[in-house]
């Protein structure tokens, strides 16, 4: 998996926003000039903790990040996955007391961008405020879709949907290809994201591989037939809002 520079990651974030919201050149330039602190996170480590009060948002530069929700006795569940170009906790800009954790699933680099800079940008460039808002709506749409998947679909369909979604999200962020994308997630973490046991997930992945639909490798996903993957997962990318529609 190619490593991104910090500028490339900010550019990916701008592209992610611009896919859905019109953003002028001045606003784009202001985003590229944002002061930020780069950090490398170790595998299996929280870099945002449950109960933190945040003063920055984290842009994923490279690697893979999970957002975990947690029960009172400490049991955790993956509720979101964030790839390079995503700012997984952008909404902490307006809700800084977090009830979830951000966790590096593999060696991961992030940019911490101070909230006050993001707030100033949103005030100076109202189109950015709208773009940030819409970006948060997409994250909420994804969470809603995951809820439907684990609540109403069988295991094969749920897994197929997630692998199709991640393919489309990688391509939207300018990563991966039609047939392959980097996905350095362990069987245990992937099982958690689709609410299955690792044993059950392994069996589902075997069936998808034997049906010549998709292969989950250790650090990547190889898609043999996207149309059949989408069909198996009842995947319709509409909830990802990949078109720029700013009409009132």
């Amino acid at each position: 998996m190619a490593r991104c520079t910090t500028k490339e990651a900010v550019a990916m974030f701008i592209n992610r926003l611009a896919l859905r919201s019109p953003i002028g050149k001045q606003a784009q330039a202001a985003l590229l000039d944002l002061p930020a602190v780069s950090e490398i996170e170790d595998v299996e480590r929280d870099f945002v903790h449950v109960g933190d009060r945040l003063s920055h948002s984290c842009l994923v530069v490279d690697g893979l990040v999970a957002r975990f929700a947690q029960t009172q006795d400490g049991a955790r569940s993956v509720v979101a996955l964030h790839i390079p170009g995503d700012m997984g906790d952008l909404f902490s800009l307006v809700a800084p007391n977090v009830t979830w954790a951000l966790h590096a699933l593999c060696p991961t680099r992030i940019l911490r961008i101070p909230h006050h800079h993001l707030r100033e940008l949103a005030e100076q460039h109202p189109e950015l405020a709208t773009a940030f808002w819409r970006d948060n709506v997409v994250d909420a749409n994804i969470l809603a879709q995951w809820t439907v998947n684990i609540g109403r679909k069988d295991a094969r369909s749920t897994v197929a949907h997630l692998l199709a979604e991640m393919a489309v999200r990688h391509q939207a962020n300018g990563l991966g290809s039609d047939h392959e994308y980097g996905f350095p997630i362990t069987q245990a973490d992937l099982a958690d994201a689709v609410a299955l046991t690792p044993v059950h997930l392994n069996r589902v992945l075997k069936r998808l591989r034997e049906d010549a639909i998709v292969i989950k490798e250790n650090t990547s996903v190889r898609i043999m037939d996207f149309a059949r993957l989408a069909h198996a997962g009842e995947f319709d990318p509409a909830y990802l809002q990949l078109t720029c529609d700013d009409r009132p």
Partner: protein, 80 residues
């Protein structure tokens, strides 16, 4: 902590767990194996069938089978 591989053998053939998972010891691996067997049997039940012909092998990193769990051991069936 050691890594264990939970390989399933049933009417569909063998599903090898190449990646494996890290557990504190064999007792925890046994509990996770039982949980795993129950989870896919539950999914089969939702499709209207239950096939208990099969077993799960817990293997160590070298491939040695440390324990074999028959699917029958994972559930209690009351059918009288």
């Amino acid at each position: 902590m050691p890594r264990f591989h939970l390989h399933i053998h049933n009417h569909l053939g063998e599903t090898r767990d190449e990646e494996g998972s890290v557990f504190a010891d064999l007792d925890i691996a046994h509990l996770k194996a039982i949980e795993g067997i129950r989870s896919f049997l539950s999914a089969e039940l939702l499709e209207g069938k239950l096939d208990l012909r099969g077993h799960l092998d817990i293997a160590d990193e070298a491939g040695a089978v440390l324990e074999r769990i028959d699917f029958h051991e994972a559930v209690i069936i009351c059918d009288a």
